[in-house]
Amino acid sequence: MLRIPCPWCGERDYNEFRYGGDADKVRPPFGKPAVEGADLKAWHDQVFVFDNPKGPHKEYWQHVQGCRHWLVLERNTATNQVLQAWPAREFALARVKP
């Protein structure tokens, strides 16, 4: 039973959460390219190509049975040790306004 430190609700059992995938991946920018198909490769990689890192890894989780916020959780994939969590919005805002 993983215990996830929700930034809003505190430490809770992982089965209150849903998993949402790799948080290190950055979505291709929103907006239709001048030529249709120009962003196909970027989206292909976004949807189908995943790293499988061993060790600390950032991933999205949503506290679906709690505050419903999305968060970024750092977890060691080798030991399943939970390291740290942040509001997902903070990460996203940092990407929008570098």
Binding site: M1, G20, E36, W70, N80, A88, L93
Partner: protein, 983 residues
């Protein structure tokens, strides 16, 4: 002669409290404090079961959960529970136990003939023998073989008992209450830590329970328990087995409460499964004694030495004749001295050449001895000793042969998270291979067999655990009791000489002998994992607790490698068998999962609604006014909607309130079609895709005001869509100023459909202008009736003139009843899910069945909806060449060509004349009887789609071996111009 008897005094049993029980229907007696096994031994012992494969007579071998032989079926009927170790089953008044695997009885078992064929019944025998003559012959033989070789049977009836699950937290968990565990709990608790001490036995004390009542060792135990019981921060849990260690310092604890006679009618649970998170864990799980491997070592009367001691001291059960203690280590001398002190006749045979004189003082000891055989099939009568070279040493009359082959630390829990145990040559044991930072272990599990050593290590571990959590209280000191400590120093001897090649068992429960290991070696199954699976060693309900180490040591010898090179098999939870009921707790029957109900549910229940499960919902399937089965009722309900007016509950739809200055932009991004310029007061049908361009959901979204939208989703995808919108706003587009709120449960809704729908609503809301000018197709009106807000949206799922009326859930039934009463003169009636779903098929609207997460926007024929100039989720991936290929499947309609036959959902489609083989060229997703066309129609996905319009195809339904002919047509079976919508 009976092998065992009850001594007139002593033990921890309550002789004032006699307990009556039955074994195979025969009345028996024991005392409170007995286990089923100790009561049977007190009655004489002997045969209590037959072995798994050879049906050899077996007796009680241990005094704990590791017992491989004395397994019983307890209870009968619905409460029947098989394979319960009699060594762990507390004796309770009225207990009805049955022996297993013997017919007609365990005393005389016809299947014991298998012993004669033992040479044939070696490892892999069944697999090798029953493979022919045909390829599938094993399927034929298996049931018979399983019946002959097997243990008890579970009941097929639902278990009437109550089980509970709970969630708990503690600072320090101590697993095991032997000397080390008691010391650890005391040290941690004295320092101020919150402590749970979990013990699988009914009583605390572990090996100290085998000290005589009133002795110094027993007094030490009693004092420690009294101190712990008085500390408010300590929780003592007996009859509680820690079954598994999982991530995040979480453990599963199974507590048995049968001794309290729990009454399910009063909600009392017979077992409680606790999911416990502990900040620190101290493992004081002890060790399990290993049997010796010698000829006929499975005879009743052969017992582990520590178990023989436990039966003497705890249950006052002793052999009725002379005892022989055979050992390769020091620990068995504790048993020998206790027997002597109790006035019993005892001889020790030690495999070692020299033994410390302090151990042997006062005992008759044969050193450098080998045990080469025992007599007495149904109970040991004599034992034969030999020299190491095999020469005869001595024959001894014995009714008990107490054996010790050394100890196997209970490293199960410490290994559950993947840490392999490590071999320690000094103790000849596998010890825990390492620990997480928050874990520690002490006592016998660490090879600390001497009493003082175990107590000191336990005390340190408990104190350190508390200190690490910031508890600075003074733990003081804890002196060990002043009693003789034996330790377990020894020299491993994995096999005794076996000149007559008799059976020498390793795994008693699964009847695996040393010869089977040798055969596995010969046939190349040499890794321990292969050995296990080929011979079934360690695969019984005891999971090889007494057998694994002996077997792998023998395999290591055959392979001429060291024991650590041979390695161990993987330890997995649970430590002991766990009833599924305990894991389920109260989540059974109607509590298996939550059921969602519409605000109209009670009305529907009271007014002829018949329900069907749809995901988490109970939805109204049809109404009995229209018929007494769905198959007849939905036709009448469809007719009502097509010719007059009906009303259907649509509260099940997902409803999301989308607000904020950027809400139009947000919706414009998530829907393939444009929403930015949707006028206030208008609704629009929209489709959402996933990033991979597969259709996620469809629904209608209405612009209530400049910055506020009312989104509806399909029932099935409501949760997914909500999470997806939240994900996008918090991870992809945090700059958008939008809030989304689920109002699915807050608002109820009803669809009013049919040519007379407007009239029905005019009667419902008198004086309100509902003309097409005031409320055009895809328009919305918001108003209040007696202060209750109403959202009236003109949209249609059925293809008829239709409206959806939404109102807060608390008023939904009022509005529904008012509507039915007001429009009664028109003949309005309610219709259910089956008719709703059939009407939409006639109209060619896709729904969950057709949007099966394999289909793109173009597949469902809606590619033209997508905005050409704007971006939207899934756009880029939509244009993957394979998805745009002309032969890609897409939505078509099908009409059945042969009257009298049926179209069936899931049928596989083939072009005319094609071989009916493989995955076909498409499949049927939705089927209904069309009242307008008077034939079966279907929606289907077909390769090439409407390019094949007008062609005849074959629909195959292999489950019924059925094929029918159908014609490919437009999926819009009725009113293709949409005239009915705009009246």
């Amino acid at each position: 002669m009976k092998g065992f008897k009850r001594l007139p005094s002593g033990g921890r049993i309550d002789r004032a409290k006699a307990i009556s029980f039955t074994l195979d229907g025969k009345a028996k007696q024991g005392f409170a404090g007995d286990t089923l096994a100790s009561a049977l031994l007190a009655g004489g012992g002997g045969v209590v079961g037959r072995s798994f494969k050879y049906h050899r007579p077996r007796g009680v071998m241990t005094a704990g959960p590791e017992e491989p032989n004395a397994l019983f079926t307890l209870g009968s009927g619905a409460t029947q529970e098989p394979n319960i170790p009699g060594t762990q089953a507390e004796l309770l008044e009225g207990l009805a136990a049955r022996t297993q695997n013997g017919w007609p009885s365990v005393g005389f078992d016809v299947m014991a003939i298998n012993q004669r064929f033992a040479k044939l019944l070696t490892a892999g025998f069944y697999y090798k023998t029953f493979m022919g003559p045909r390829k599938r012959s094993w399927m034929l033989y298996e049931p018979f073989i399983r019946k002959a070789a097997g243990l008890g049977e579970a009941s097929a009836d639902p278990d009437p008992a109550r089980y509970d699950t709970r969630r708990a937290f503690t600072e320090v968990l101590v697993v095991g209450s032997g000397p080390a565990g008691l010391a650890a709990a005391l040290a941690a608790a004295r320092a101020g830590a919150r402590v749970i001490l979990a013990e699988q036995d009914s009583d605390l004390g572990g090996s100290l329970l085998s000290e005589p009542v009133g002795s110094a060792g027993d007094a030490w135990r009693a004092t420690a328990i009294a101190e712990l019981a008085a500390l408010p921060q300590v929780t003592l849990m007996t009859r509680t087995t820690v079954q598994g260690l999982y991530d995040g310092n979480t453990l599963g604890l199974l507590e048995r409460r049968d001794h309290l006679s729990p009454d399910p009618a009063k909600g009392q649970a017979r077992q409680v499964f606790t999911t416990l998170t502990a900040q620190r864990i101290v493992f004081a799980t002890g060790a399990i004694e290993r049997p010796l491997v010698f000829a006929d070592n499975d005879r009743p009367g052969v017992m582990l030495a520590s178990s023989a001691l436990a039966y003497l001291q705890r249950y006052a059960v002793a052999p009725s004749g002379p005892a022989l203690v055979v050992t390769n280590n020091d620990s068995a001398y504790r048993t020998a001295h206790a027997f002597k002190a109790a006035g019993l006749q005892v001889v020790v045979a030690d495999t070692r050449a020299t033994v410390d004189a302090a151990l042997t003082a006062g005992l008759e000891v044969e050193t450098a001895a080998r045990l080469v055989g025992v007599s007495g099939a149904h109970g040991v009568t004599a034992a034969r000793l030999a020299r190491a070279d095999g020469s005869f040493l001595r024959a001894l009359p014995s009714t008990l042969v107490a054996v010790s082959g050394g100890w196997s630390p209970a490293v199960h829990l410490t290994s559950h998270t993947g840490i392999k145990p490590r071999w320690d040559a000094a103790t000849a044991c596998f010890l825990p291979g390492g620990f997480a930072a928050t874990h520690a272990a002490c006592g016998a599990v660490m090879g600390q067999f001497a009493l003082g050593q175990a107590i000191a290590a336990g005390f340190t571990a408990g104190r350190d655990a508390a200190a690490a959590l910031g508890h600075a209280g003074n733990s003081g000191a804890l002196a060990a009791p002043d009693i003789q400590s034996f330790g377990a120093a020894g020299e491993p001897l994995w096999r005794m000489p076996n000149p007559r090649h008799r059976k020498a068992f390793l795994d008693f429960q699964n009847d695996v002998s040393d010869k089977d290991v040798a055969q596995a070696f010969d046939e190349g199954y040499r890794s321990v994992e292969h050995l296990k699976r080929y011979t079934t060693l360690g695969m019984g309900t005891d999971q090889g607790k007494t057998s694994n180490i002996n077997a792998l040591a023998i395999m290591a010898g055959l392979r001429d490698v060291t024991i650590p090179e041979a390695g161990t098999t993987t330890f997995r939870p649970p430590y002991t068998p766990t009833a599924i009921g305990a894991l389920a707790g109260r989540a059974v029957g109607k509590h298996f999962r939550p059921i969602r109900r519409s605000p109209l549910h009670q009305w529907q229940e009271a007014n002829g609604g018949v329900f069907i499960e749809a995901g988490p919902w109970l939805r109204c399937w049809y109404y009995t006014w229209a018929g007494d089965s769905a198959a007849s009722a939905y036709i009448k309900e469809m007719e009502l909607v097509r010719r007059n007016v009906g009303v259907s509950d649509v509260s099940y739809l997902g409803k999301i309130d989308v607000q904020g200055p950027d809400a139009p932009e947000f919706l414009n991004r998530v829907y393939v079609n444009g929403f930015a310029k949707l006028p206030v007061g208008k609704a629009r049908y929209g489709v959402m895709l996933n990033d991979d361009a597969v259709a996620l959901d469809d629904g209608t979204t209405t612009r209530l005001s400049e910055n506020r939208f009312f989104m509806t989703t399909t029932t099935a995808q409501a949760g997914e869509v909500m999470s997806w919108l939240e994900f996008l706003l918090e991870t992809a587009w945090p700059e958008l100023r939008v809030q989304v709120t689920s109002i699915t449960d807050a608002w109820g809704g009803m669809a009013v459909s049919g040519p007379n729908a407007r009239k029905a609503l005019e009667l419902t809301f008198p004086g309100r202008d509902l003309s097409s000018a005031a409320l055009p197709y895809m328009g919305v009106l918001e108003f209040a009736v007696e202060g209750v807000p109403i959202r009236l949206i003109r949209l249609s799922f059925s293809g008829e003139l239709a409206y959806e009326v939404y109102t807060p859930a608390d008023y939904t039934q009022d509005l529904w009843e008012h509507l039915l009463a007001a429009a009664a003169p028109l003949g309005i009636k309610p219709y259910g899910l089956e008719a709703l779903a059939s009407l939409r098929i006639e109209k060619g609207h896709v729904a969950g069945l057709d949007l099966d997460h394999r289909n793109t926007l173009d597949d469902i024929g809606l590619g033209k909806m997508a905005g050409k100039e704007k971006d939207y989720i899934g756009r880029a991936m939509r244009f993957r060449p394979k998805l745009q290929a002309p032969e890609r499947w897409s939505l078509v309609g099908l009409e059945l060509l042969d009257a009298g036959q049926k179209l069936r959902g899931g049928s596989i489609l083939f072009p005319q004349g094609a071989e009916l083989k493989g995955h076909g060229h498409g499949w049927i997703t939705s089927v209904t009887w069309s009242i307008e066309l008077n034939k079966y129609i279907a929606l289907a996905l077909y390769d090439g789609g409407l390019k094949h319009a007008g062609e005849e195809i074959v629909c195959a339904y292999p489950l019924l071996n059925e094929t029918v002919r159908a014609k490919v047509v437009s999926p819009h079976f009725i009113d293709q111009e949409g005239k009915r919508l705009h009246v």
